[in-house]
Symmetry: C2
Subunit: 382 residues, 2 copies
């Protein structure tokens, strides 16, 4: 086992009918809350009203910052920082999926400093502190509700960057699987693919480690997502399916899977970020396209771990069958598995490569992931 530090102080409140706990959880950290959410869905489903009732009943003053986009934008986060500073809020309440929670983290960090938040993403400054954050998860996948990472897109430079910092752990995250009953099939699938990919990338990062605990936990999470995603897609009110997808997503990036396995590299994410930064497609959708192509490219380099993956996660014998079964599963939950299916042709590859390589440098993956390597992986995704 590789040496590691594991620290995850987020309090999880998991179960049916936990939405009313949002207000009291937030009130423990402040009197005035910045309430961050997305665009339409929480109003359409009635969740907005339930959260407002809970916040008001807990005696909180509420400042709203709606309109977070699916790939949250720097400009919108900056506006949130300005609002939070002006209104002197003491706590942030994020109701949404990974995008809302990520933007909430950026605002939480930006509000307590004069540093511009993009400086954190380009590692020109370090996050020392943040406002307390309470989240209520509405779409599973990113795991942001139980980790200290965030991703933001700078729309000027088309850069989609991510970072981790200790003060970014939510204080409390409320996970009510019934809230996700209304998530449409495509978004359910994309979220599941995102969660799967977090475990997949951690699993693939390590070739020869004799670490049965981490392997077993990761195989369990991947198998669970593989089994549950189709159930949730086909039967949106299947509680056990929704609950397992939710908890698997949260655990996937909580640290428990990769502690002891050395540094976590996310090459599929790195390449996918270029896709969703440029084309504004769903992150999980992009990952569904990249993962099989990446596997094909790396299949010599990572023969052992990929074969084990094929056998233990999908119950097939060979690496090649593993890739095939992964693709079949992705197609079964109606994800694209080729760039051509989302109308991206070979002509786009140089632009995508350039964008992904930029992130490879920031994430210190560029030694291996040179432009020609990224290009070749993208070609295998066509």
């Amino acid at each position: 086992m590789i040496e590691f530090e594991y620290y995850n102080p987020t309090r999880i409140i998991f179960g049916k009918d936990t939405v009313p706990q949002t207000g009291p959880a937030a009130r423990a950290y402040g009197k005035k809350a910045l309430f961050i959410y997305g665009r339409r869905s929480i109003k359409e489903t009635g969740l907005y009203d339930r959260v407002m009732t809970s916040l008001k009943n807990a005696g909180l003053e509420i400042v709203e910052h709606p309109g977070v986009k699916a790939n949250p934008l720097l400009s919108h986060a900056r506006a949130g920082v300005e609002l939070a500073k002006k209104e002197k809020v003491g706590v942030i309440v994020a109701v949404g999926g990974g995008s809302v929670i990520d933007e909430a983290k950026a605002i939480a960090a930006g509000t307590v400093t004069d540093t511009d938040i993009w400086d954190f993403f380009e590692f020109r400054a370090e996050i020392q502190d943040a406002l307390p954050l309470v989240t209520l998860l509405t779409i599973c996948g990113s795991g942001s509700e139980m980790n200290n990472g965030m991703v933001l897109t700078n729309e000027e430079s088309q850069a989609k960057f991510g970072l981790r910092a200790l003060p970014l752990y939510p204080k409390v995250s409320i996970l009510d699987p019934t809230v996700t009953f209304t998530v449409p099939p495509d978004q359910t699938a994309y979220g599941a693919v995102d969660a799967f990919s977090h475990v997949f990338e951690a699993y693939m990062a390590r070739e020869d480690l004799d670490t049965p605990i981490q392997e077993g936990i990761m195989e369990t999470l991947m198998k669970t997502v593989v089994a549950r995603a189709p159930q949730a897609v086909q039967d949106p009110r299947n509680y056990n399916a929704r609950a397992d997808l939710m908890w698997a997503s949260s655990l996937a990036l909580s640290g428990i899977t990769f502690s002891g396995g050395g540094p976590l590299a996310l090459p599929c994410h790195m390449i996918e970020h270029a896709l969703s930064a440029i084309y504004d497609m769903a992150h999980g959708e992009g990952l569904a396209i990249i993962m099989p192509g990446w596997m094909r490219y790396m299949s010599n380099e990572k023969r052992g771990v990929m074969k084990r993956f094929a056998q233990r996660v999908f119950g097939v014998n060979t690496l090649e069958e593993g890739i095939e079964t992964l693709e079949k599963w992705l197609e079964y939950v109606k994800c694209p598995v080729r760039l051509s299916q989302v109308n991206i042709g070979e002509g786009e590859i140089p632009k995508l490569t350039q964008n992904a390589y930029q992130l490879a440098q920031v994430w210190e993956l560029s030694d291996f992931y040179a432009p020609e390597v990224i290009k070749e992986i993208l070609r295998l995704c066509l």
Copy 2:
């Protein structure tokens, strides 16, 4: 999945040569430390000197409270509280196994209040606060380094009671597998059995839950302990074996295994506590005797889960083979599996039953575990 709260804020520092981090970790919480440890072993192995150096280098004033026994005693913990109050220590450093860490938790809780600590164990008072605690683990098994539980023996009433409370999570736990290279084979085995039992009891508590995440994690941990314990017993300096036993022990009671599975019942522990309270035997030794007998008694009631356990953990087909294989494994690591092997005869059963039933009432298990049930389980352990 059953609703749950998961919260575990202990920071884990895991790996070779992490002992020198003890001082800086403690210094972050106070200037004066109560240094708690056991009897001989940390002086014999040189660990005492390494810890003292680290504490001194970090600029800490040190007050020592040595002499914690294998089943820590209330009187010794009370003396620690008195010392900590008199010396006005700001942080507690526990270097040892579960006994040392448990007593350190009791002292941490007792120092910040006028309540006598035994009142907490009999639920006459609630723990509201505790001194910060930094632990350095020397014997794996109890999981106390990464949870908020503690067990203490009241030598006057021969009661061995346990409780959990939020302020009892260690702030930092330092897990250096090389520190356990010197743990003798018997204690290595008892610790492994203790860790195994924590997962085993959580696994057995739930018959019909459709919770693949928790099941998979628990099966992984049990399989790991089953594979690694003999390796560590036979080759004490096997790093991977020691590391996996250490991390499996910590995760076993960290909350990650039983969150979502409903309340955690520990009937084997309940009965074992009577054994180690009265006969001062090692906790893991007692558990090795109780678990197979408990399985035989419960084999009708819990057919489904016990069969699954047999198949997935031991790779055998039937419940009966599962019990047999468990016993063989326990014998292979040189644990007793019958009361007769530790010279406890049928005549002792009434006394043991009475003691265990006392705890059954405190733990609210007495509806099922009536005296005649406990008696019958003990008879199956003869």
